[in-house]
Each structure stands twice: as structure tokens, then as C-alpha cells.
């Protein structure tokens, strides 16, 4: 799967799991058209953890929605495993900032939802849900309704729900954006733990520079007006990412680099 295109010299990799090709997305505003994405190209390798960071309005959520198949690009295309994306699919799990748990279903039933849709028999459904509920540490709350859970627990449940249908790709749209700083750090560590025990290709959108560097193998920095890729920064820090890594000078250096790329961008065209 050598999906390298001439226009994307900075972001090419050999085996692209996700390949975004010269994608443009515009929205019609009152008197002008708003360019959310302008010629964005990005390849993500199998089992790679890529974070996308940028100022608001840089189109990072639009990019994720297009990869998820929830929005269609104005021009350009997105390939997953070499095939064009035409809509959402169970091989691409999505985790939303607002958790999007079904409030009338218990944690277990939420996790089972996708399996039920896929038509799995009840016993198998239960077994797999059990596994993922345990993986995110919610086994004591398996029969609780979402309204009784804290924000962090809700997001863990959403992660379990996305994992349960066994997607090869996880798309996460500022999943920890609504959480307090301490919970956020804890969930980042747990996410990496889950990811290292069950590897997936992850595209993680965030507006938090520390989070972007801590999680990623590669940080994509986007710029706004029009939304485009500004810089791609490799994070060659070892996994598992421990507190030690987080406090290391190497981490600090990378964080500063990403910070400068995010906050000192040349003015939009």
C-alpha cells in the first residue's frame, strides 16, 4: 500500500492506513465561503498514534469528521486501507468530546450497542463488553446509568464502546477537552495503556500542546484561515510514556517546539 503522492512530501509514510489526499472543505457563510480545510494531505501508518493540534478554526475537527465519514470533502479524497471513504464504518471508531453515551442504556449496554448492531449473539456480546468494560476499569459500574458517572468515567465508557466493535482505527475528537487537568492526565496515561495492550491506528484531535506531545508518535500542527497543515513534528520519545518522560528535558524541548508552531504561526493567506 504505497500511497505516496507527490504533493505530500512532508507527511508520507510507506504503509498508509489512513491517507488524506489534497482534501478541501468549504462551508457557505452569509456572504463568503469559509475554507475549513485547504489542500490537506496526510498519511497515517498502521498502528501509529498521531495527534492533531492547532488553534480553533483550523479545521481539525472537520478533518476528523471527514475521515470518520460524517462529512464529505468538497474536493480531494480520504482512503482507508486503500479504499475511498464514503460514510461511517465500524472499522473506524469515533470518540466524541461530549461522550455521546446513550443515556438510557447502562455502561454495559452502551458498550454492547455496536455489537448488537453487528448482530452478534447475546453471549458473545456480553463477553466482549465485559472485557472492554474491565479494560477501562469500569467493571464496578457496568450496570450504572451514564447520569451517575463522572466525566472521566463517561469518556472511559465511550472508549470501551468504540473498542468493542474492534475498529482498526480510533478517531478521537478532543476526548478529554471537557475534563479537569488531573483527570485528563490520568486518562491520557490510561489511554496509552489501553492502546499499547491493543494497538490501533489513532488520530487524536486536541487543542492541548502537552497532551499532543505526550500521546503522539507524530504531532500534526494545523493553521487556520484557511485550515491547513502547518508543520509535522516527530515525537521520538520512548513508549511507555511515564511521568518521567513527561518531566524530561526532551519532552520539554518538543513541547516548546510544538508550542511555537501552534502559537507563532505566520498570518493566514
Amino acid at each position: 500500500m504505497t500511497t505516496t503522492t507527490q504533493e505530500t512530501p512532508r507527511t508520507m509514510t510507506d504503509a498508509a492506513k489512513i491517507s488524506v489526499r489534497d482534501t478541501r472543505k468549504t462551508f457557505a457563510l452569509k456572504d463568503e465561503e469559509f475554507v475549513a480545510l485547504d489542500g490537506v494531505s496526510l498519511d497515517v501508518a498502521d498502528n501509529e498514534f498521531v495527534t492533531v493540534v492547532g488553534p480553533s478554526g483550523c479545521g481539525k475537527s472537520t478533518l476528523m469528521n471527514i475521515v470518520a465519514g460524517l462529512e464529505t470533502p468538497t474536493s480531494g479524497e480520504v482512503l482507508v486501507d486503500g479504499a475511498g471513504v464514503t460514510g461511517p464504518g465500524p472499522e473506524r471508531g469515533v470518540i466524541f468530546q461530549q461522550y455521546a453515551l446513550f443515556p438510557w442504556l447502562t455502561v454495559r449496554k452502551n458498550v454492547e450497542f455496536g455489537l448488537k448492531v453487528a448482530g452478534l449473539p447475546a453471549a458473545e456480546r456480553r463477553e466482549r463488553a465485559e472485557h472492554y468494560v474491565r479494560l477501562v476499569g469500569l467493571e464496578q459500574f457496568a450496570d450504572a446509568l451514564p447520569k451517575t458517572l463522572s466525566g472521566g468515567m463517561k469518556q472511559r465508557c465511550a472508549i470501551a464502546r468504540a473498542y468493542a466493535v474492534n475498529p482498526s482505527i480510533l478517531l478521537m475528537d478532543e476526548p478529554f477537552g471537557a475534563l479537569d487537568a488531573l483527570t485528563r492526565v490520568r486518562l491520557q496515561e490510561q489511554l496509552l495503556e489501553t492502546w499499547s495492550s491493543e494497538k490501533r491506528t489513532v488520530l487524536f484531535i486536541t487543542h492541548d500542546v502537552d497532551e499532543a506531545v505526550f500521546l503522539a508518535g507524530r504531532v500534526v500542527v494545523m493553521a487556520a484561515r484557511p485550515g491547513r497543515i502547518h508543520e509535522v513534528i516527530d515525537v521520538d520519545l520512548p513508549y511507555p510514556r511515564t511521568e518521567e518522560v513527561r518531566l524530561s528535558p526532551e519532552f520539554g524541548e518538543l513541547r516548546n517546539r510544538v508550542w511555537r508552531a501552534v502559537y507563532h504561526q505566520p498570518a493566514g493567506r
Binding site: 465500524p90 469515533v94 455521546a100 453515551l101 446513550f102 443515556p103 438510557w104 451514564p146
Partner: protein
Amino acid sequence: MTTSTVSTPTAAKNGSPPRRRTGKRTTLLVLNTVSVVGGIGIWWLLALSGLQLPTPPEVLAKAVELAADGTLMEDLTASLGRVLAGFLLGSAAAIPVGFLMGWYTPARGLFEPWIQFFRTIPPLALLPLVLVLMGIGELPKVFVIFLAAFLACVISTYQGVVSVDRTLINAARVLGAKDGTIFLRVVVPASSPFILVGMRVGLGSAWATLVAAELLAAQAGLGSRMQQAQTYYDLATIFVSIVVIGVLGLVMDRLLLAAETKLTGWQERR
């Protein structure tokens, strides 16, 4: 009224900080009881003071009499039968129509003008027309009740469907759900609180319409009993009917409220 001023401070004292919630509930319950007993007391005083009202014991005696000779039961059956038939048919029709309106834009375009128009007309105002067209049997009464329940419920159901959180629908889509599944497993449960509120409003509206319809045209039923009693100046019977209508309305509302709490207890209260 003197009783209330005496018992309030003691009730308030029960609501001391350690068990504030239960204390508050007891206070409310005590106040409710005081209010009801006080109200009946005032009624009794007014009846004794020469106003042409029957006293509570007279009304009670009348109620026993009407229950004993079967009139009350007959009226109850007639009224409840009409209201339940109209209400159930109305809700049963309103829910699918409300869903269609919320889900398919063409359905909304076709139904909305009629619903908005008839919503502004009290169903009872259609009774003369309906009586002419449908005769004086059960049909016209059930029909206006149907209309009352339908109009209240259909708007609410429609509101419920259009206010379903888009991210929940997207969450279902990315988990592989197709339109049919999304409708049954996301849209229906997500709009159930709206439907139940609509049904409650519809029931209240149906009950009010029923009694008024019976006042105008019926041979049996709580409303028609009052109408007959009026011609004989039988105030006790009118009181019995009013109390029965109130109690039945309250019981039905509480039943729906209990169903609502049970079915939509998952809602996050903000």
C-alpha cells in the same frame, strides 16, 4: 385557617438541618393536609352561613346514595370509556405522525399547516359541526376527545424528534447503525420524555374536553349528570360530580407521571 398558623412552626422545626430533605417533605405534607382540611372547613362554614351550598356531609350522603343505586358507576364507566378511547386513539395516532414530521421534511410540510391551524381551535368549538356530521351517538364525543389528545401529543412528539442530540445519532452511525436502527434505538428512546409529557398534556386536555362535551350532548356520564342536576337544582349531585371528575383526573395524571418517572428516569437533571 387558625390551625395552619399553629401547626406551621412545629412542622418547620421538624425540618432541622440533619435530615433536611425528609424534614422538608414532612413539612410539605403537613401543609398539604392543613390546606385540604382548612379548605373543606371554609366550605362548611360558608354552607352554614346561609350561602346556598350543600354541606360536606350532605355531599357525602349524596355520593353514597348515587354509588348505591348504580348511577355513579354508570356515569364513571361512560365517561372513562369515552376519555380512554379518545385518548388512546389520539396518542396512538399522534406518535407516528409526530415521528414522521420530525424525521421526514415532506411529512412535516404536509402535516404542519393543519396541525398548527387546528391547534388554535379549542376541540370543543368543533363540537357543533361534529354533532351535525356524526349524529349524537358516542362517535362525536370520542372524536373531539381524540382531537384534543392528538393535538397535544403530536406537537410534543415532533419536538422530541427534532431535538434529539445529533452527536447521539452520529455515535450510532459510527458504530455501524443504519437509519432503521438509529430510529428505533436512538430516536425513539431519546424522544420518549417528550412523548410522555405530550401524553400527560393530552390526557388533561382530553379530560377537560370530555366533561364539556358531556355537558352539551350526552345521556350518561359525569358531565351530563351535572347538567341534569342543574335543572333540578340538585347542588349535592353537582358537587359529587365535580369531586369525582377532579379525583379521576388526578389519579390518571399520577399514573402517567409514575410511568414517566419509570421510563425516563435515565435523564440527566441539570
